[in-house]
């Protein structure tokens, strides 16, 4: 059996015993094979120590990843997301950048999950500057106030809040505010908040 066929046969999560059973080889031979495939980039491992070691085997090479928006959100938010594309940033990227990217997606779930990032904002000036570049400070501010209704969130300096916004914006296009609780936020930032209280309770509960 050549390497391509072996990889196709083993694709997925495996343990050494499963590999040795699937290929009908000794455990030591399976370990040698996995080590060789790992060197070539087809295998990554998790676990070990007290846990059973798992081998993720793919027929494509697994490249070393840099962090992206989904990684940052999933690290800090209680609501986890299943990425539908692989986002990686090769350069400096933190909670501030991820929050701005999340607001820009217009995706209901991503924006909801990104509220968890407010507690990890360390540089409000940077967040403000990034948001201003993308013309979405209104949205970030509104989302911050929504987050404050439900979570303990770090305080945003007042100088970033005292602004007038003439042009109405939508967190998600064409979705208006429906719940009374968000009307003060809507009026303060001139942004429509599409969430329902139940949606956010789900984020808190998860």
């Amino acid at each position: 059996m050549d390497q391509e066929e072996t990889l196709k046969k083993l694709e997925g999560l495996q343990t050494v015993d499963m590999v040795s059973y699937a290929l009908d080889i000794k455990k030591q031979s399976a370990l040698n094979l996995l080590s060789k495939l790992k060197k070539q980039g087809y295998v990554t491992t998790t676990g070990g120590g007290h846990q059973k070691r798992l081998y993720k085997i793919t027929s494509r090479k697994q490249r070393k990843r840099d962090k992206g928006m989904f990684d940052i959100i999933n690290k800090y938010s209680s609501m986890k997301l299943m990425p539908w594309y692989d986002h990686q940033v090769h350069g400096s990227y933190g909670s501030e950048e991820a929050l701005i990217d999340a607001v820009q997606t217009q995706s209901f779930r991503v924006i909801l999950a990104s509220m968890g990032l407010f507690n990890h904002i360390t540089d409000w000036g940077k967040l403000y500057k990034l948001a201003k570049e993308k013309n979405c400070w209104q949205k970030v501010g509104a989302l911050y106030d929504v987050a404050r209704l439900y979570f303990r969130v770090k305080k945003m300096p007042l100088r970033y809040q005292k602004q007038k916004f003439l042009k109405k914006q939508f967190l998600i296009k064409r979705y208006n505010t429906t719940e009374k609780i968000y009307y003060p936020i809507k009026n303060k930032w001139n942004v429509e908040i599409p969430f329902k209280t139940g949606d956010i309770r789900k984020v808190i509960a998860s």
Binding site: K8, R60, G68, Y85, H87, Q88, V89
Partner: protein, 216 residues
């Protein structure tokens, strides 16, 4: 040949050299390397939707010592008669094929924009956003560009992927045909016929192509 590490280094350098933020689509060998299908490529294929972005990118390429070369001998002569041919830039063994708005007659469809496989942002100076197309689109575009080794790359993708969505590929080919790409059905049919020698492809997909051709 350009290795994966070379490719990442070049993109990092480019993001340092460009004067404005920009985005482009990666397909061909570049996209295959991002996927992990192969380790080296002859060229970096990029498509820009905005001419200003493309021009700025070319300026940065030239500042890195790349100079324009001819696409003759790389693409077949029929393709080079088209209006939207690539501009090619070379330095030693490294080559960029830069397309603007179209890859010959094929455009970036709404589905291509929506269903991307990955976004790689290079932030060394400015932000260079490289959007990697999904595997079915890479195969379709390889069928369209018809360069040497393109078929081998198609085979590599199809043979490595357990869940290659043929229906998705055919739908895209039909969409492109309906939107002005008169080559795409012929190129896709030729590719499928050749591929059938190596992998199992249901006859219904060829029939879908024929019926799309009959409709217009």
């Amino acid at each position: 040949m350009i290795t994966y590490e070379d490719q990442m280094d070049i993109f990092r350098l480019m993001s340092r050299n460009i004067k404005r933020n920009m985005e482009c689509y990666a397909f061909g060998g570049t996209a295959m390397m991002f996927y992990g299908y192969k380790d080296e490529t002859k060229d970096i294929d990029l498509l820009f939707e905005k001419d200003v972005d493309r021009d700025e990118f070319i300026k940065a390429l030239e500042s890195l010592g790349f100079s324009e070369t001819t696409p003759q001998n790389i693409y077949i002569s029929e393709k080079l008669k088209e209006k939207d041919i690539p501009r090619m830039f070379k330095r030693d063994d490294n080559r960029f094929d830069i397309f603007s708005k179209k890859i010959f007659k094929t455009v970036i469809s709404p589905r291509m924009k929506e269903d991307i496989f990955a976004i790689h942002e290079f932030k060394q100076g400015r932000n260079l956003k490289v959007k990697v197309l999904r595997k079915e689109h890479i195969v379709l575009l390889k069928a369209v560009t018809e360069r040497k080794n393109d078929f081998d790359d198609i085979r590599a993708i199809v043979e490595k992927e357990k869940n290659f969505d043929w229906n998705y590929l055919i739908e895209e080919a039909v969409w492109q045909y309906e939107h002005g790409d008169s080559w795409v059905l012929l190129d896709t049919e030729k590719m499928l016929r050749e591929l059938k020698k190596y992998v199992f492809i249901e006859q219904k997909y060829l029939k879908q192509l024929y019926s799309a051709h009959g409709k217009k």
